[in-house]
Symmetry: C2
Amino acid sequence: MRSEFDIIRQYFTRPVTRAALGVGDDAALISTTADKELVISVDTMVSGRHFYSDTAPRQLGHKALAVNLSDIAAMGAIPRWVTLALTLPKRLIEKNDTWLDEFATGFFALADSYQIELIGGDTTCGPLSISVQIIGEVEKGKALLRSGARPGDDIWISGQLGDAALALAHEQQHITLASDELIRCLTALHAPVARVELGRRLINLAHSAIDISDGLMADLTHILDCSNVSATIDIDEISCSHILRRYLPQPIAVSCLLTGGDDYELCFTAATRKQEEIENLSLQLAIPLTRIGTIRQGKGLTVMNSDGSVITLETRGYDHFRT
Amino acid sequence: MRSEFDIIRQYFTRPVTRAALGVGDDAALISTTADKELVISVDTMVSGRHFYSDTAPRQLGHKALAVNLSDIAAMGAIPRWVTLALTLPKRLIEKNDTWLDEFATGFFALADSYQIELIGGDTTCGPLSISVQIIGEVEKGKALLRSGARPGDDIWISGQLGDAALALAHEQQHITLASDELIRCLTALHAPVARVELGRRLINLAHSAIDISDGLMADLTHILDCSNVSATIDIDEISCSHILRRYLPQPIAVSCLLTGGDDYELCFTAATRKQEEIENLSLQLAIPLTRIGTIRQGKGLTVMNSDGSVITLETRGYDHFRT
């Protein structure tokens, strides 16, 4: 059995350049400049709740960081530093077990691609759980908030929604996907791509933004609540994969599209006059950006069907204690 | 059953003044000044590992924050902001359960006493686990590190060591304390006091510092390793309570004193000429500060008995994967 200190030394102690002090003291030291604010977020993934216990550790390492990157992206910030609180069952740290190797490989592959530094953490023994705290930088006063949506704004989403939820629906036997469909949807579930570059470029362009982690309806509702506005969206405008499209209009597919979590795309609002600029950005970044509706005065979220009828769903998104 | 969002709103959303943005967006926003560095640390407490599942939630709320404050104290920094990643079993969030009320009461009582702001977090469902990330501020270049100890330095500790470990030894039936002894030792275990003010005052006075969370020998060894020095300490000089003294020189009591964790006192080193200043500080803060040994060149930690013999212990401190 490897010790806590061995594990930290072997897997999680790396030189830092941007931080003044990284792993190995009571705390890490960082500094920023007067024109910047720091953006702080934390996300926990628990075995049996956010992932199956047999999920490949390399995928977990990637995803644990990706979901945090997504929060930084939604603020329009640049990710800089992370800390990692890792709770591990004893079996995963036996000397012949490769779990930690694989986890660290997935984690650092993504971290390195953004030059993010691991500056601290805590390794402890218990039921598998991964908590990542991320710190980013953004120009002072420029962060994209949930509270900035204005009546008349267009509502946009990036990428395609629902594939991650479709994979989960298959795993939970609510739907049966063909094996090639499953492979693609599992990639959406396990290897999400945070829209960091897009978030950066939306500063000065969008009025509000959020990342779609709990499902489009739940997350858009957060924007509406924080901005004291309402919205109407058109289900036909919501971009989805050709796989999900095959299963529409089955209720499970509609549900994946509107309320499925784990997409980690961005939902944002912007003035109508910004449309061309946003479409150009979509081309530049090679990321689909789609207008799905309009912000209005008042309260509530209305989802329109192609025949003009209103869609009502029982659940609006993922809630850890309700599902 | 209360929802994740209800819980965050009810217990963990509070106005912030020092942060630009607190709980309720994708991330929090903070800023600092050019003359400051930020000090970042994270600690996780897992049920069944760091505490018994029936530990009073108010004590847990206090301790989860206190152990992080202790890291900030060891750096000589001022604690400012925290995030809280809370994983809760379903039974604790039933509407009639008071666990969250009590936890939040303990947590915020301590946070408020230092004007620390909760700026974010994640609430999820699973085996009980509490991860707190703390952010402090320190004057640039002034943080107390583990790596600053110099040959000739005196080695100091604050407070009294071993009572928390003694309580744990009783709980684990390695020793039987009288009921009044147990009450006092349980207070040391459950309600540690982080030495924040002391840490602040040690800037410009100490060469190195660490908080004693894994036991004196383990934590002092971290200083020695990081500073490339050795040390000799005298067991008779280590300050302990009259309760622990009653059980000396029983091996279990010696072990609590030298290797017991959970004390959250500070161990620091300073030049001999600072002795009077440190003794004055002890009087001003009403915190016992005791010289227990000397830093020397070379490698290793030697613990001397009163008869001049050297003490050898099998374990040097708490390791989450070894015990």
